[in-house]
């Protein structure tokens, strides 16, 4: 690796040099190492909670790579988790496939689902696409209920083999590492994909598709790639989780509306279009919910314990944070961090480096309102 750049290190590899790497990467690596050592210090219940949090972090990352980056908002990412999870569970239960075999098949099926959703995405404007993604998992759930003989309806499938023949009771630390391994693997893959050539193209699609065309890149091709990648990763998480104590192949675990929406909340909270933000947001959301469930507070007006209202709580937090930190936690933290390091080094901190630029949620909101205005008529602009 010969980096001959003066001001900043060139390319992705340059950024990974442990000596010259930016402070936030160092912090991230230290964080991962600490998480790797965590099972030594926590009990088995906590280990499983963390495992569940990692799975959710992967869900959120898989949403982020397509919706956060390209701005094609999916309201039903559970579809991909579901296809992956049910495929693997059915193959394992019905045909005796080992999870190590059935999980890859689940990934492939989820990737196919990604194509099925992604291809219409080429023709549909944002709001229509979102409608499709919203409805698709609902239809799937209906199929699961209608053919309860195969899918066992709302209960879902249980009794599948655990991964690597681990024991549900006793091997909690191992399940922790299974989930943690998946989390780190997906984080690495998506980090590389988004930090090499594809990432800037994805975000450019979010900004302005016509301009992407004008530089000779096919938005269709990259959108499909994002969908398939996202679906495959979502499917991988879904397929793996059904072979752990963290979930089974059921609508509640994999494709309920709550899952679909919480994935979005996690990614937006953490920082849409950053992968790392989604990862952190997903993990934090589950840990936070875990804390909430321990709170014995009963909300007076509704007469329900606060632990039953976590969904509402998250939605409220999201709205508040969307106004306070529209870029998400990770952008806010990097911003503060950059400002601080400049102060410490005695440089003049740049004031609001991203001053006039829109954050991804703002850009997507703008695209949507524009597209909705076009769809709902008003002007006779019938261009494409």
């Amino acid at each position: 690796m010969s980096d001959n750049d003066s001001t900043q290190t060139t390319g992705v590899l340059g950024r990974l040099n442990p000596i010259t790497m930016p402070l936030r990467y160092k912090l991230g690596l230290v964080g991962l190492v600490l998480l790797g050592a965590l099972p030594m210090f926590i009990d088995s219940t906590m280990a499983l909670t963390f495992a569940g949090a990692y799975f959710f972090g992967v869900y959120a990352m898989s949403w982020d790579v397509v919706s956060g980056y390209t701005g094609q908002i999916s309201f039903g990412h559970g579809l991909f988790f579901g296809v992956g999870g049910y495929t693997s569970a059915l193959l394992n239960l019905g045909h005796g496939f080992d999870p190590l075999l059935s999980i890859p098949v689940g990934v492939v099926m989820a990737a196919l689902a990604g194509i099925i959703i992604g291809v219409p995405a080429l023709r549909l404007k944002g709001p229509y696409l979102s409608l499709v993604t919203l409805v698709a998992p609902l239809i799937l759930v209906q199929i699961f209920i209608y053919r309860s003989d195969i899918f066992n309806g709302e209960q879902g499938l249980s009794g599948v083999d655990p991964l690597f023949g681990l024991n549900t009771f006793g091997d909690e630390a191992m399940f922790y590492y299974v989930a943690f391994g998946l989390f780190v693997f997906v984080l690495a893959v998506l980090w590389i994909v988004t930090r090499t050539d594809a990432g800037p193209v994805f975000t450019a699609i979010r900004e302005d598709e016509d301009a992407v065309e004008a530089v000779g890149l096919s938005p269709a091709k990259f959108k499909i790639m994002a969908f398939v990648l996202s679906a495959a990763i979502g499917g991988l998480a879904g397929a793996m989780i059904v072979h752990t104590p963290n979930g089974n192949a059921s609508p509640t675990t994999l494709l309920s509306i709550t899952v679909n929406v919480e994935v979005i909340i996690a990614a937006i909270l953490g920082g849409m279009g950053t992968i790392v933000g989604a990862a952190i947001g997903g993990v934090a959301l589950i840990l936070l919910r875990d804390q909430l469930s321990a709170v014995d507070l009963v909300v007076p007006l509704f007469d329900t314990p606060i632990s039953d209202m976590d969904f509402l709580v998250f939605t409220l937090i999201t709205f508040v944070l969307l106004f306070a930190l529209p870029g998400g936690i990770i952008r806010w933290a990097t911003g503060i961090g950059g400002w601080l390091t400049q102060r410490v080094r005695g440089e003049d901190p740049e004031i609001a480096a991203d001053g006039g630029t829109k954050t991804p949620p703002e850009q997507v909101y703008e695209n949507y309102t524009e597209e909705l205005r076009e769809i709902l008529g008003g002007d006779d602009d019938d261009e494409h």
């Binding site: 750049d5 050539d197 594809a198 800037p200 065309e213 530089v215 938005p219 602009d381 494409h384």
Partner: protein
């Protein structure tokens, strides 16, 4: 109507009312028509662009210049008619494929990617249209992008975001991003609107340099300001049809053209 230009053997680029053949030039428009609902924005327009010329494409506001461009570059297909590029029928080919064939455009309304620096705007145009590309890993792209930035006069503003650029800077960015796609033909949509005299001159010089390096250019404007010394030949359209064609002086003195501009814009 036949006019000599300083670019050689132009015999019948636009012969008797729109009978053009695919090989009349680098780019040939044959009876291009574009309707929006009931509105005819481009009305059976035919002309050819010769290799390595700078063609002025002139017309009052709303004449159909940008719409003609959009039909050529594949932003939307024409209602009828044929577009030939390098002798090949490319009608309805999508925009990114046209760019890959060597036909680039700038946007009249400037459409930079607001979320990234000038350098990264240009780098994107250097990205290969491939799924898994690690080209960016080697830092070569960045070097090339920086070179292009310098070329279009943004060398000292590479690390700014578009919202920090003045109007002329945004035009330079449009040009840089288009040049990064290595075009053979560049369509420049109304570059001079809103520029000061010296800026017009400096952009003109850049375009002339590019032509000398082999680029063919079509430059749109709604008047002749800034075009006189730049273009080899001009085409004037009104209501989507051609009303004059010839060298700059001839166009300027053309009675139809003068009438078209009467009471409206100054030519």
């Amino acid at each position: 109507m036949s006019t000599e230009t300083d670019h050689g053997e132009e015999t019948d680029a636009v012969a008797a009312n729109g009978s053009v053949s695919p090989d009349d030039g680098l780019l040939v428009l044959d009876e291009i028509r574009k309707e929006f609902g009931g509105l005819v924005a481009v009305d059976d327009l035919s002309f050819a662009v010769e290799e390595q010329e700078i063609l002025g494409f002139i017309g009052p506001n709303g004449a159909g210049k940008s719409t003609t461009f959009n039909c050529v570059v594949g932003r939307f297909p024409p209602t009828s008619g044929t577009v030939y590029y390098k002798g090949e029928d490319v009608t309805g080919t999508n925009a990114h494929t046209m760019v890959q064939k060597g036909l680039a455009r700038t946007f009249q309304e400037f459409r930079p990617f607001e979320d990234r620096t000038v350098l990264k705007n240009v780098s994107l145009a250097l990205t290969p249209n491939r799924m898994f590309s690690m080209q960016g890993l080697r830092g070569k792209t960045k070097e090339k992008a920086a070179e292009i930035c310098k070329r279009v006069g943004l060398g000292d503003r590479m690390h700014m975001t578009p919202d920090e650029l003045p109007h002329a800077g945004l035009l330079r960015l449009e040009l840089g991003r288009a040049l990064a796609t290595k075009p053979d033909l560049l369509l420049v949509d109304e570059p001079f609107a809103g520029l000061s005299g010296p800026e017009v001159e400096s952009i003109s010089d850049l375009l002339l340099e590019l032509r000398d390096e082999g680029l063919t250019l079509v430059v749109v404007d709604h008047n002749m300001r800034g075009l006189l010394s730049l273009i080899d030949r001009g085409i004037v359209i009104q209501f989507g049809s051609m009303i004059a064609e010839g060298d700059p002086e001839a166009i300027k003195n053309d009675p139809t053209v003068q009438e078209a501009y009467l009471g409206g814009d100054e030519l």
